[in-house]
Symmetry: D2
Subunit: 228 residues, 4 copies
């Protein structure tokens, strides 16, 4: 079904692109002068098998791509922010929980802060000294976090976003990133999800309105040539 669905989505995207181009959507925001890399929820609950949050194409595409991006950032002193999600109170019957109301939609009750292994960044792309590990409570990496203030103080004007999922945390991070005044780049091969079509239709919407979807090759090249 996936291949039939993709064919059909391609047709839909082609028709939409015609309208979007006529009307002035799908413009390019472009790469800026001072980038940062934001890896969203590439933590064990999302990258390793057997969790409700487990995603697809982690081992063969996302991790290798992010490794290349990390290398380019570290060689050129670009800031890296590793984002993960966990909660201090995961009892669904406790109304005083940092899950807010989100456990009423999705199984965030599986990521308890005390079980560090579950929300730790995947060891294959682990943070090194000087990189931020940012714990968020909601979908967006900006919502209820110090990310915007951190990036501005660091002089960052461009964010490259990877991770999971296309339909939730990656998309909201890109929407908020542009809203906060940053040039937003979605790294195509490094963004995943867990249901058929979700990566495709979300990247299509994102590219039309909120961020430029660019290949990992082009992003690595950019990170390697822009001055930090």
């Amino acid at each position: 079904m996936q291949s039939q669905l993709n064919d059909m989505l391609k047709q839909a995207f082609a028709e939409a692109t015609k309208l979007y181009q006529e009307r002035g959507f799908q413009r390019r925001v472009g790469f800026g002068k001072k980038p940062a890399l934001i890896n969203v929820d590439l933590a064990n609950a999302w990258t390793r098998p057997g969790n409700p949050f487990t995603c697809e194409k982690i081992d063969d595409e996302i991790i290798p791509g992010v490794q290349r991006l990390l290398k380019a950032c570290r060689e050129n002193n670009h800031p890296v922010i590793h984002v993960t999600t966990c909660y201090q109170v995961t009892d669904r019957n406790n109304p005083h929980t940092d899950m807010g109301l989100w456990h009423n939609k999705i199984p965030v009750d599986v990521v308890n802060q005390e079980d560090e292994n579950i929300w730790a960044i995947d060891s294959r792309i682990a943070p090194i000294a000087g990189e931020q590990v940012l714990i968020k409570k909601r979908a967006s990496s900006f919502h209820g976090t110090y990310l915007a203030g951190f990036l501005r103080a660091a002089g960052v004007d461009t964010i490259l976003v990877t991770g999971v999922t296309a339909s939730a945390c990656v998309r909201t991070t890109l929407c908020d990133g542009l809203a906060e005044g940053f040039r937003t780049i979605a790294v195509r091969e490094c963004i995943g999800d867990r249901v058929p079509g979700a990566v495709e239709w979300n990247l299509f919407d994102i590219d039309a309105k909120f961020a430029d979807v660019e290949s990992v090759d082009r992003c690595v090249d950019y990170l390697s040539t822009v001055k930090g």
Copy 2:
């Protein structure tokens, strides 16, 4: 093509639903005790023909549905917020514009604040005294606005969201609304877009993770029975 696309999307949604149900997604956040209605970008640039932002199904579905919701709110003293979007500086060559960077993705340069007719709320669903008209600059009705503080101070715990587009301003408003701690309801028939499939796949993602998608009938019934 629309009908073939919808059939194919239905299949994809059915497969995704199976996985989501097994894993604990697609839960219900439910209606709360104190609702507000938020109509997103139902202003002339989006509801009337001939603008780059013009959307579909406005006259036959969205406007009549919103009229019913407004009536139920006004009869029961529920707060109504009419959201629109416009800018003081729409010269794309001026780096000091309240468009931020968004004009580098979409044609927001068509909604200048001085041309009130273009961003005024559609007269068929116009605000009355005591209702808020909120001007936003970004996709989300919460981002860079006083909406969250307003709703909190008013004791609101549930937001019903209508408007356009499913893929941009409605979706980000619902994501932010849940993040801010409000029960989020997407009113199915009152949400539109302008390209094939976009309403369907966005409402699917939203219902899985960020808000309950409910019919206008059920919403009108709720607004008419809950105490304001």
Copy 3:
């Protein structure tokens, strides 16, 4: 000097009060129906001797008062949020630090996240299971944190704020709390600082414009009688 200063400040406050009363300032926001207690920066760096952040009147006034407030909250199931401040990167020469720009004004470089003892909540008023420990990066407990979303989702409408310092983290927390739509109460005896006059003039400004300054007795009474 402290006593002379206080006399002079009392005269100034009396004159200001006359003007404020004539003009309609110094109104009462009042206690609401669902409170939460927020203890700001009552962590070792601020409550124990020998740190640049060490404050006054900790042992004899603030800790005993907060102990009474905590008891009342715990007996009545009111949410408690323990706020502290620390950073992952405290190297002042690293432009990619979560201190943002604040280390260019005050010595936040002394609170490194790896040295948990320095930013841990004072053991005399330590958190118990189910209470939040919130790490912030800036003065306000709301700025760049999930606090507003947490409180709203929990149905809280009133915040009682204690801690240090009156001139920085307590004041900004109260200003933001009111802005976010919460009834704001400053617990007089439980708010401290480290320089002469700062508690007095900050509580005066706060009471005139941003929160009701109330005694610990009255707050304990309120917490003990309002339903959680």
Copy 4:
């Protein structure tokens, strides 16, 4: 009394400065590379006689100083943001008001959006084409507004803040500005209030922790020499 109070405050500030210097407070954040000017609430309700919000030293110090700053900004193409405050619903008995809860502390019910004259920027320092007029609902110019996103997108790294009052809207704007990652400058002669001592103690706290207090001369010189 004002002169006696000021003498006493000077003594208190001297003693506090000793402690602050020993402990590493009162550092300089400094001027950056790309400034913006933010004039807070220099609108008729605050600058003209006869309103509850009327402030002191408007005609002789603040307006002439701001005129000099505006001239320097306009000659060098630095962005200017004129901030004012008003509300769509000022009926205190209406719980659905954009005043939120603030009218329970101060007389914001006097600034109704329909009465444009009352919240219009003072004509002596009126906006020109291309400058933003930002309407806020709370004390801080950043809270619930698009200001941070606007400034980031414009590449601004430094904000110079003028206006009223020292104890409310100016102070919270500076606190939030630093928190958001901007270098914060308080323009000494261009900041006012309406009760004795308030300018002095607030500028003292601000300079110790949140912004550099600088003279209008030095700010004009900076604006005239930094490249826009």
